[in-house]
Amino acid sequence: MKLLLFSRRTAKEILRDPLNLAFGLGFPLVLLLLLSAIQANVPVSLFAIGTLTPGITVFGLAFLTLFAATLVAKDRESAFLQRLYATPLGAADFILGYLLPLVPLALGQGLVCYLTAVFLGLKVTISILPAVLCLLPVSFFFIGLGLLCGSVLGVKQTGGICGALLTNLTAWLSGVWFDLKLVGGAFEKIAHALPFVHAVEMERAVLSGNYAGISPHIYWVLGYGAAALALAVLLFLRQMKGQ
């Protein structure tokens, strides 16, 4: 009951901020529309809807990190968390109360992107459904990263690190906009050591119906997701104790 109430509060705080809706939903959709328009006017296959959409859904999830981090940092700075720490709420209520409401947001965001892509020419197949579900482990990574950053950074810092830096990292190192092999070398190696490109490849494999193709990418995503969540819990508990 307490967890449910706190989760509902998290959802309201995020959904009632128009900037969150603009960035979380509006920006990925604008990119999808814009890049599809470019594709329609160039003779080569730059942004084919079947490979672009999975990339955009993963890129959109990077904004969840910003939402989670900003909310936790704001709650810390305004002492709202301090007030709640002096109530019967437990550590699990806090962590799950921030995390759980963001999961349906992630799935909803992915679903809207895929539905928009259908209008832009994406072939309707049953694989869209598992592709949306495959965003679940990816969202754990991004939300975990948000909780982690919100536990240690201030509101202004979360804007810079989770907003500008992370969205750029997700964009450049995920292979959404260009094939990483085109750059190659250290850039490609670094990109493959991070989860972004694996998340996109996993999504692309599932959407194309190549379910066997999720391996080994899913292990990278799950590994980074588990690490981000574990570190987030650790740092959240540390700042909770440090109050």
Partner: protein
């Protein structure tokens, strides 16, 4: 035996050598204090005196480095869950959920304290009336003025039916009218609940408190009613008494702090 139980229940707070150290800094130094039930006790001191740290330890937000404190006989070190059921806190910052309405903020706090739906509605209606929040009940908390946010903050702290209310600098940064209005709110609570108030406004402590404790450099220098402290310092104005007591502690080592438990 009977006397001992009576004495224990009459005490809202008893601290025993309560100490908080941060590396080289001792923020609170062996605090010995007893606050009676229903008392409004103010902790007064200049910045860095240790008031907020003392409150943080008493409200289980900071772990003591040494010593313990008992709230209605419950240890802040060993019985944190039980202590949290007894307290409400209004932190120095406004500490409200900005995108929730005033009503939703109040209901959230009720829910966190495990109240049923019916009780949540009843308590929200009571708090709304008590704090005059009716006109702004549907407004988002983040859009309110500082004075209204503080008023809401205290209402949120009280709605969980605490036995002890901690008010950390409740009027900090407010204009004269907002401060005066908040004083009325605090006065209305006086005697009905134990209140620990920290402030560095002399007139606030003098006007609101049953007793006042003066802290400096983590130590409790002295306690008493405003009249007793003025008498002790040989001054006619409370502000002068405060300055005299604090500087006396600097100038004549050994005169303060008092030894033993301060009642």
């Amino acid at each position: 035996m009977g006397d001992s139980i009576k004495k224990q229940t009459a005490e809202a707070i008893r601290t025993v050598g309560l100490t908080k150290r941060y590396k080289d800094l001792t923020a609170v130094d062996h605090l010995e204090l007893v606050v009676k039930q229903g008392e409004l006790f103010s902790l007064l001191g200049v910045n860095g005196a240790g008031k907020t740290t003392a409150i943080k330890m008493l409200s289980c937000l900071a772990e003591p480095s040494e010593g313990d404190a008992f709230l209605h006989g419950r240890s802040i070190r060993k019985e944190m869950a039980a202590v949290k059921e007894l307290i409400g806190i209004s932190p120095q910052e406004t500490a409200v959920a900005p995108n929730l309405t005033v009503g939703e903020n109040l209901e959230l706090m009720c829910g966190i304290h495990g109240f049923s739906r019916e009780k949540r509605k009843r308590k929200t209606a009571e708090a709304t009336e008590q704090f005059g929040l009716g006109e702004i009940l549907g407004k988002r908390a983040g859009k309110l003025s500082g004075g209204w946010q503080r008023r809401l903050s205290i209402a949120m702290a009280l709605i969980g039916e605490p036995k002890i209310l901690f008010l950390d600098e409740p009027t900090l940064g407010l204009d004269v009218l907002a401060r005066s209005s908040l004083w009325e709110v605090i006065r209305a609570l006086k005697g009905r609940i134990t209140i620990i108030l920290t402030t560095h406004y002399m007139e606030e402590a003098e006007a609101l408190s049953h007793r006042i404790g003066i802290m400096k450099d983590g130590k409790l220098l002295t306690t008493g009613t405003a009249g007793e402290l003025m008498e002790k310092a040989g001054k006619e104005r409370f502000e002068e008494a405060f300055v005299a007591l604090v500087t006396k502690a600097d100038g004549t080592p050994g005169a303060f702090p008092e030894k033993g438990v301060v009642r």
